[in-house]
Symmetry: C2
Subunit: 387 residues, 2 copies
């Protein structure tokens, strides 16, 4: 049979045809008025999506590069930072901070759980010399989502800055950068922005810029100051040759979000997540993350007892062309993850649930065909008639 | 009139349709056997192009990111490095080394000139504690090309490693990484590799790996060790989400080079450079760089006395759609640069020379129409009948 693929991972995600095709356009030079126009509009659109008036800088790198940039630009050797982590990407931020010789105060909560803002507040009181709090908004490895707003309310009353990895959050989940007091927002291209991986953006508040000016950690390619300087040129630019085709792709992705309307995009992601959850629960599966703090970007599902999650992912891929993500690190084999961040409509969920029903039955799990699909349809029907 | 553009800058450069179109293919996930296969083949092809058996690592970043990676991975704070520079990109490497707190011993030669290998040898004798020599192969800002082979012969007899920025060199100019003793070769995607900007590669020798293991400078995204570890996985990978569409593009670009034949690609670049030089000299213009050490990637031409080089570039672009590069930094307005690295044939040179004739006459420089074109044709005729 012909193999048709359905990419349902939480990044990279499928791309709209407009985004794909813009990459196939002839290469343009980046030191031209045409490029500057595109670049300036992209930055303006990112500000609207991030809900920020802060400066937005872009880097040709994947999200991890921008996470490193946040650390290297805001701190000096020996500075104390509080890293809250309960998943692979929270741990990555911890590892980056350690690589840079920072004094890392860890707030490790269970994978699948979220950070308690009050604990962060208490830790900041105990160690008032902490210069930054690092938090993961949507933890892609577990599907949990942190209460950035409450943490922001606490951190803004202290001298510390709040750095948030919202790589799989912003654009899919409500993220009000300025209102919530996020000093450095980190975003990647390959999630809600509907762009291939390889671009990252940060929004930097005046409070963070004060630290940037004092920071003595080494940086060059990821230097916020260099990026800021190039952006204040007569023809705003990036300091180094940008990934031109990805910048074009990102500018199309950002435009599509604003055309749909940011709040509508959030609602669509909520609908996608709700339909997915109804479906997997109707199939008798258990969601991995706690009830109230689930990301709309990805749904993490426990593999049924006695069934290896890796097998589910493999059969979904090999037999049905539906690419899911497995569990990472300590969750390997225990969960599987259905991504729905970016260019997804309701019927993408139907495809993955249908493939899941077929796969589970093959693995000996009792499935009445159509049960999951029916539940997703019920949720969706309610959603569209409720509007 | 319809505007048709001809990109004649030394990066980004025009792309073959196969490279453009591969970026428009549906997004694929990077943790799949299909991606691994593509990635493994790309690395193998890059090794053939770099003429190296050393490990080759790729990064989703532009060339500057890989330059920084070379510094951050090979040295420790206070280490002495000798940076030879005579152009914007040599200076960039110096600045990166300084940003990382290295003791930078500068060998500054005039812009347009090249480094004297004997001077490097003498400096290494005087300061035997120097841990690395940093050299620009093809200096894109001046069009000069360094004698990497001779420098390699000297450096290999010392404990120092040789780091070479060959971003606009490799693939266009002879570069024999292993034979010439290049310990860290730095390459970018947007030149001879006929790929959009945003990817970079390094080849790292065993001598360099010894320094990498001792290096205490901070790094994470650009960590050679992390990249090496992911490459030795059962399914070789990059440690962080790669720029998937650019990786695909690069794999097509690399394949095209090997299909044409590496030495044929070098010869084609030599032909493009020779034809360009004949043409501009026939028009009475002076080449900026010295006679014998000119890159085949770019031809730097002095603006005629009394004419601002910036104006030449502007008219070429606005009136004729031919995009050249101007002079950078201290050379602004004094030179203009015709790029011919990557996907160029002889007739691309004809287009730019024709536009140059029209532009020069408009600026009041005496031009007999067709003189430059005729000279290029003579050179080319000789080239194709000499084979």
């Amino acid at each position: 049979m012909i193999r048709r693929e359905y990419l349902m991972t939480p990044g990279p995600t499928p791309l709209p045809p407009e985004v794909l095709l813009t990459q196939a356009e002839p290469m343009m030079h980046h030191r031209t008025p045409e490029y500057t126009e595109l670049f300036v509009q992209l930055i303006a659109n990112l500000k609207e999506i991030f809900l920020t008036k802060n400066e937005v800088l872009v880097f040709s790198a994947s999200g991890t590069g921008a996470m490193e940039a946040a650390v290297a630009n805001c701190f000096s050797p020996g500075d104390s930072v509080l890293v809250a982590h309960g998943g692979k990407f929270g741990e990555r931020f911890r590892d980056i901070a350690k690589s840079y010789g920072l004094d890392v105060v860890e707030y490790a909560y269970e994978w699948g759980d979220v950070a308690d803002p009050e604990v962060i507040g208490r830790m900041l009181k105990e160690k008032p010399w902490i210069k930054g709090v690092i938090l993961t908004h949507s933890e892609t490895s577990t599907g949990a989502v942190n209460d950035v707003k409450s943490v922001g309310e606490i951190v803004r009353e202290t001298p510390a800055i709040l750095i948030v990895d919202s790589i799989s959050g912003v654009g899919a989940l409500e993220m009000r950068t300025d209102e919530w007091g996020v000093d450095v927002l980190v975003c990647g291209s390959q999630k809600a922005l509907m762009t291939p991986p390889g671009m990252a953006a940060v929004a930097v508040s005046p409070k963070a810029w004060e630290l940037v000016e004092k920071s003595s950690l080494p940086k060059y390619y990821f230097s916020f100051s260099k990026a800021r300087k190039s952006m204040s040129d007569k023809s705003p630019q990036t300091p180094f040759t940008p990934a031109v085709s990805l910048t074009k792709a990102m500018s199309v992705g950002a435009k599509l979000i604003l055309e749909e309307g940011l709040e509508n995009v959030w609602k669509r992601h909520q609908m996608l997540a709700m339909c997915t959850r109804s479906a997997v629960e109707a199939l008798g599966l258990r969601l991995f993350t706690r009830n109230l703090e689930r990301s709309y970007a990805v749904t993490a599902v426990n593999a049924p007892p006695g069934i290896d999650g890796t097998k589910i992912v493999r059969i979904m891929n090999r037999k049905h062309g539906v690419i899911l993500a497995g569990g990472q690190s300590q969750l390997k084999g225990k969960i599987f993850r259905i991504g729905h961040v970016g260019y997804y409509s309701f019927f993408d969920i139907i495809v993955s649930i249908s493939a899941l029903e077929l796969t589970l039955r093959e693995l000996g799990y009792p499935v009445e065909m159509g049960t999951g699909v029916a539940a997703a349809e019920e949720s969706y029907y309610e959603y569209i008639n409720d509007k």
